[in-house]
Symmetry: C2
Subunit: 403 residues, 2 copies
């Protein structure tokens, strides 16, 4: 790659470094914890669904042949008992009798139809008999065992992103665990001697480390798992030790911030460039400096230290891969008319922070400065200005990326 | 309300019971745990952003007046030192000198512009001087302290659903905690003597409780918090004790499944109807039986016991309110042509499980039976057939609700 690469070139390079993440290891998780995860294999139901023949209505279980004439003239049957949706085996139904039955209760042996209570009248002393007003055919209002699924059938295919309705099917099948794809294990490393823990008293020249918490949150929002979060000062040995520790912790990907521009004390560049990393400029603003490497086989993607640049870089270069692996939708790109005219720098793709105004137009929030983190927070989209465009009039349509 | 109410009537009744949930209590959470939560008040930055005047580029900090003629003829200045992005206060810049400066490093007192390294050449022995090739005005490549935000300014407004970019702004402001709206606290109660823990050996007449895990997952997916999950057999005293325990646990809403149809052993009906609950039929299929009550001031919404009916009922009657409170998007309703003709029952709104086929048409999955939980899992939408429609031809457009 050349010293200054295009957004597409860098995106493609990062994508190739991350291509190994697609083949996911699997893990078993409790059904109750599986919301949003993705099934790793077909899920078999160990039982039939429903597990036994049961009534679809409150009513009377009968032999259809005993009530075949009921529509012409009511048929009165003695009520031999009652079956609730409860454990235990109901007694078989004797010919010429009915049993009161509840929704979901087992249909007794011998019965082959259920007459809904609305199609009956009480009869006899103390409701000891029932008058059947409507003939019902064999099978009416009876849910056969296995009519949803036979034991051993697949209740879920592989590759399903689990919502509550999938967990309902798994739990109804008596399953307690599901084999799902592991989330991608990511480490986040902030570099810079000027960084302190947010909330700590700031000395001269010190700033709170925003990238640690914000990149970790961005990783989680993209459906991956943060296995380690660290902050290292500008010291190559410490950074090396941290990358080794991340690898030890099972990280499959490390995201660094800072340490990749052209000055001195560029710790990510110093450590990784001799190992073959690409550290250079991408024709974009903000976020020009970028780095990408494999460290002992583990991809390390280096973002600039500025939080706005780091968030944008994550969104452009890493989030698409993580979201695809986690089964999450890609960021939507929406064409919108500009609320105001704007100027841009030739030769760089500009990503301006913006929001949709009340007229559905894209307006710029806070100008192009990459340090405007409060402005980023006030944005809900990025306005994309292509490399060869230096001026746009109000009303011209631009592509916007939803945040 | 009448004995059989419309979908809209019941939805509106449930909404009114849940209206008290909108006024949320607040809680303080760590910034690192605040992803997806909603700010409860304006968030002030205790510090200016950026906290100190710093360089936007790697280059040389100078007095603009010293380099005013550089574009006409290069100006050579002795390099008095170097400032990195690191703790400590840099020495003031003496007139007629330059200091090497890194991106993000403090601009020394006396300097008012930064000349990017690309616009300079090394000069003198050992780079002891620098040749400035381009004039730079005061302020060029200097980020003033507070240019993003002054100390005490709001970094986030109230009502923001926190994404990683908002957490970046909060952490950059040195904040460690954020005041957010509490999630709605929900208890989930499965009723039915036939229910056993999923995974337990099934005796005759027993089925795994699917609603516990699935309604809890649906609650979480709607952005609320499950504070208690229980299963009770058909015993009014046990259900009463469970509702009291849920209230004790701080539940603001209880969702029950089962126990509301017209048979005997309808435990939810038996407990709540004497206390003024509405328990009746809604003109819909599946999910006809429904209940809604306030128990000691706490809303209790009762769904049918069948998992398909329970999931659908949650989606129609409770999810919209919970999603709105949690700042999550409503389910999208999309008109689609039908893949095949279908027939429906007059007088009930039918919600058929379906999916979008490869031609973008809605096809029915698994028929109208409310017990078809595997079919629900295979669906990605609900096909809505209005009450007064009994037949639809292939190609006719229906409303579908995305799952």
């Amino acid at each position: 790659m050349s010293a200054r690469s295009s957004v597409e070139e860098h995106a493609s390079f990062v994508r190739s470094l991350l291509s190994g993440l697609g083949a996911r290891p699997t893990e078993r998780v409790a059904v109750a914890d599986a919301l949003g995860r993705i099934t790793a294999s077909p899920v078999e139901s160990p039982i039939a669904l429903p597990p036994f023949r049961n009534s679809q209505m409150d009513g009377f279980a009968v032999r259809a042949s005993d009530v075949a004439s009921a529509t012409d003239a009511p048929v009165t049957l003695p009520v031999a008992g009652e079956v609730a949706a409860a454990p235990g085996l109901p007694a078989a139904l004797a010919p010429g009798t009915a049993v009161r039955i509840m929704t979901g209760a087992q249909v007794p042996e011998g019965a082959d139809a259920v007459v809904p209570v609305e199609e009956t009248e009480a009869a006899g002393a103390d409701g000891g008999a029932v008058r059947i007003l409507v003939a019902r055919a064999a099978g009416d209002y009876v849910r056969e065992a296995g009519s949803d699924l036979a034991a051993g059938d697949d209740v879920l295919p592989p590759g399903v992103k689990l919502g509550s309705r999938h967990l309902a099917a798994a739990a109804a099948s008596g399953l307690t665990g599901l084999l799902v794809r592991e989330r991608v294990r990511v480490a986040v490393v902030s570099t810079g001697s000027e960084l302190v823990e947010p909330g700590a008293e700031l000395g001269p020249g010190e700033i709170p480390d925003a990238n640690g918490v914000a990149l970790a949150a961005a990783v989680r929002a993209a459906g991956a798992l943060v296995v380690r979060e660290a902050r290292v000062r500008d010291d190559v040995d410490r950074l090396r030790a941290e990358l080794d520790a991340a690898r030890e912790a099972g990280a499959e990907l490390v995201l660094t911030s800072g340490g990749i521009s052209k000055g001195a004390y560029e710790v990510v560049r110093e450590l990784l460039e001799p190992l073959g990393a690409w550290v250079g400029a991408v024709a974009m603003q903000p976020g020009g400096p970028q780095a990408a490497a494999a460290y002992r086989g583990m991809p390390v993607i280096g973002f600039p230290g500025n939080p706005v640049s780091a968030q944008l870089s994550f969104e452009l270069f890493v989030a698409p891969t993580l979201r695809a692996i986690a089964g999450r939708p890609a960021a939507s790109v929406v064409p919108l008319p500009l609320a105001e005219p704007l100027v841009s720098v030739a030769g760089r793709r500009q990503f301006l922070r913006g929001r949709r105004d009340e007229h559905g137009r894209a307006e710029v929030v806070g100008g192009p400065g990459s340090h405007l983190v409060a402005a980023l927070a006030a944005s809900d989209l990025l306005i994309v200005v292509p490399e060869d465009v230096t001026e746009l009039a109000a009303g011209e349509v631009v592509q916007t990326i939803a945040l």
